[in-house]
Subunit: 327 residues, 2 copies
């Protein structure tokens, strides 16, 4: 099978499509012929040699999500049949023509959805769903602040929070991204390129009404998060594009009785991945079928343009997901 190989740590030029042995499904697993996948920041970090790949996945093939057709069943697998359309996240090696996962980790592709759209769902929407409901316990009527609202996880979180009846404030560093986010349900748009975003939030909503924050930026956004968060507010940190280390005012943490939680999907044990996939299948897939949620695809590129795809993501100019397809 074909796979995108990281030939050595480096820039997009180190990526090459090469042949690799097709994997065989183990007990309880399914093998999926990947029709489409998508790109994530962790893929770029892995390419640079800066992301520890979870045990059991090759360091030289990136790729954390897929949509495709089941082409073989491992011993004991009985949840699906060959030909079923599935999608999901995987710890690595998703940028290949075939992959194997435990059958209970896979989720059904929403009815009538294209492979390209389906491939834009798993990582972004599972991350956002888990962050908003399992980590933040977001409630109808609450106000949630989403940083980098134009990103893959940002646009997913925005739609889920909007569907759940929350008021959504979003930050981005581009007026264009904010305009597009408004069409997905964004209530209050904050342009972080126009001075301090926390001051803007304070002036727009006039006090401390932000009960929850979905932070995909990290770094010194921490300081602003603690300023605008309400008493007993919750912050989930999912991404660190602005840096991993920042000064932490724990006095504010105590006075406001804030909860800060870090999360990541990739390194989770099987039982947690299964639990999340089953929750999401039951609660979110129907919302795609009724149109309440929609995958946000910036561009679809063939896998032979994988280097362009990596460069595009590094440009920070995309809105939503960069989808990759084999044909």
């Amino acid at each position: 099978m074909k796979a995108v190989i990281i030939t050595r740590p480096g820039g997009p030029e180190v990526l090459e499509i090469q042949d690799r042995p097709r994997p065989e499904p183990g007990v309880g697993q399914i093998r999926v012929r990947v029709c489409a996948s998508a790109l994530n920041r962790a893929d770029l970090l892995q390419r640079e040699g800066n992301y520890p790949v979870p045990p059991g996945y090759p360091a030289d093939i990136a790729g954390m999500e897929y949509a495709g057709e089941i082409d073989a069943l491992g011993a004991g697998a009985n949840l699906w049949k060959t030909g079923d359309r599935v999608m999901g996240v995987i710890g690595g090696a998703g940028h290949a023509e075939f992959l194997c996962v435990h059958e209970r980790e896979a989720m059904p592709v929403p009815a009538r959805m294209s492979w390209d759209d389906a491939a834009a769902i798993p990582e972004a929407f599972l991350t956002a769903y888990d962050a908003l409901f399992n980590r933040l316990d977001l409630q109808t009527g609450e106000t949630v602040l989403i940083h980098a609202v134009g990103s893959g996880v940002g646009t997913a979180g925005l739609q889920i929070a909007h569907a759940a009846g929350a008021r959504v404030i979003g930050t981005a560093r581009s007026p264009d991204k904010l305009e597009r986010a408004k069409k997905l349900g964004l209530d209050i748009a904050i342009d972080a390129s126009r001075g301090d975003w926390a001051t803007q939030v304070e002036s727009v909503i006039g006090g401390q009404y932000v009960q929850a924050i979905l932070d995909l930026v990290g770094g010194n956004y921490l300081e602003g998060n603690l300023r605008v968060i309400a008493v007993r507010g919750r912050v989930v940190v999912v991404g660190l594009t602005a840096g991993a280390t920042a000064p932490f005012n724990m006095g504010m943490l105590l006075r406001k009785r804030v909860t800060i939680v870090g999360t990541t999907l990739r390194a989770r044990p099987l039982e947690e991945k299964i639990e999340l996939a089953r929750q999401f299948s039951g609660r979110m897939i129907p919302l795609f079928e009724t149109g309440r949620l929609q995958p946000v695809v910036d561009q679809v590129l063939a896998f032979d343009r994988i280097r362009d795809a990596h460069s595009l993501m590094q440009s920070n100019k995309t809105f939503g997901k960069i989808v990759l397809r084999w044909a």
Copy 2:
């Protein structure tokens, strides 16, 4: 009535006992004749002018807990009768001969317990109970690390965690405090005055098995907390004696999927204080009556020695609480 007055911001010498009007109980309130109270770090900060007193409490009278006899009932109060022995926390003005609280905030003094012992319970044990169960969700069989285990909240948390079937690791900066903590159930004693405590924890328990941390120190203990905490571990920060601000490695927060929560009892709204007092009355008071929990009193001083009491707490040499009594 007599009260300890903070005559101006400053050291222990600014404290004076003066006469003040006796408060009258409002609707739903009880008035308590205070037999004993105790000292807290926040009282010292308030004396220095560095603690914002919650609305409704005078800035010039400290004191956050009490044990005493009900001497008057406000309109509609019907949970208690005059002469009942009660104890509890209060937002301020506890260092006085009388105080008024909502009747549902008060808790019964455990049967046959002295006033001095009862006064050592509320702030330390309510804080520890709330931190361990409501913030950390501590479970039987888990390992909890308690910093400053010889302090009031530390000795309370140690006993509660031990009673709940958790393994308790404790840090302190004195071998003597650790020896005394062992008698209260401490499983693993770490002397923080002998080099890096986190390295000691790692070498003693050989891996990342610390599921929960009760941190009464703050400051750069944050770095060690993130090092020793288990995947999906929880940290509650209750005190900041080592400082409020520290560099925060959010990369570690994400990778380990850690939850950090700040908490404080004092500034809570009435409904939360009542809920906590009722929980504690139902679950913890019986454990004092069977002897599983015991107040830890370092010294009992008459209120006319309030300056000595403040100096004693500043010395950091006490083990458990400094109790103050009117007679």
